[in-house]
Symmetry: C2
Subunit: 211 residues, 2 copies
């Protein structure tokens, strides 16, 4: 039966496994689409425009906001980040789910937008702060100062856990991924995500009539 | 992590597989509890008081209603049916889920009770009315007149499908059972069903403080 695409908001502090979970989710099901954010920050080595982010100038970004083309946007560490609306609406119409790798500010804005009813929000917590620290340092690409800044942002991010529909503690990546897909499978079975049901029940009633 | 028990309302027309699904659910997980209804109808052969139903006189039933001991009750085909409140509240406190094998009237009342936020409601549709008819006749224990009455009740029951959180079309019993347990596993991961999360996050904050 055809279904209506949902919007999966996956938030967590940096280092809690969100990016890995998101990447695995993209390979899990052909109907998963990743929402590529737009940003005014400079590309990091290896990042490609339109893949990790749409890299835009400040003027370009502001023009998109003014034209109502952003579903949400926010300023973080002096750079703008935002979600272009068009691809999200196209995914929904095609029966595909859109995955958002965004922070609590973006999550709040999308939940409170016209598309709020289509949102499923999941917060991923680290098993401990010691483990979060270990994972952040394990990347080996950031200075102590950058890591201290990320830890402060992590604390701020974690403080918003209670705004999410579901909460997962990522103490084991495979188990957490299974829980994530279980939530998606269940959410797809919600009545309001199965637009074909009305016609199906009309068919049952025609059968009753014909008896 | 400790969890808060949920109330699973499973409704469907007679013959759509609800009783079989309920029975399998009871063996699926040690924390599933079946809500035994009270009724004023006479026991059928093989039915045991306290197992299929609490069989009560009309006077006894009315006394329970007057004392506020019924979570919901209704009259169907001249008999009273109702859900005793005490066992449901005990299950929730123990972190066990309660499964209700009730019709739309009972479902409506429980959803609109003080326990409504703890309800997960699932409607099971038959793949076709021809198949529903076949399953009803397959039991071989009811007269044509009784079956005609059940089919009329089925149509009435099906008309309430849009009041439920989830809808499953039972075209394959094993697949439907898997979907049912997927919904339960996901619903248990909802933030408000994990009462230990507040303490867990307090622990993370103590770790931040200690850095």
């Amino acid at each position: 039966m055809a279904r209506k695409g949902l919007l999966l908001i996956l938030s967590s502090p940096s280092g809690a496994g969100k990016s890995t979970l998101t990447r695995r989710l993209m390979g899990w099901d052909a109907t998963m689409r990743f929402s590529v954010s737009a940003t005014t920050r400079a590309p990091r080595p290896g990042e490609v425009d339109g893949r990790e982010y749409y890299f835009r100038s400040r003027a370009e970004f502001e023009a998109m906001v003014d034209a109502g083309q952003m579903l949400e946007h926010a300023e973080v560490f002096g750079n703008f980040y935002g979600t272009p609306r068009g691809p999200v609406e196209a995914n929904m119409a095609e029966g595909c789910d859109t995955v958002f790798d965004i922070d609590w500010q973006g999550g709040q804005q999308i939940r409170n937008s016209a598309l709020g009813r289509d949102v499923v929000s999941i917060f991923v917590l680290p098993p401990s702060i010691a483990e979060l620290d270990r994972r952040l340092r394990g990347r080996g690409q950031d200075s102590d100062e950058v890591i201290a800044g990320r830890m402060a942002k992590s604390r701020d991010e974690i403080s918003h856990w209670a705004e999410y529909d579901y909460v997962l503690v990522n103490d084991d990546l495979d188990a957490t991924f299974t829980r994530l897909t279980t939530i998606l499978e269940a959410e797809r079975l919600r009545r309001d995500r199965q637009p074909g049901l009305s016609d199906f029940v009309r068919g049952l009633n025609r059968e009753f009539d014909a008896r």
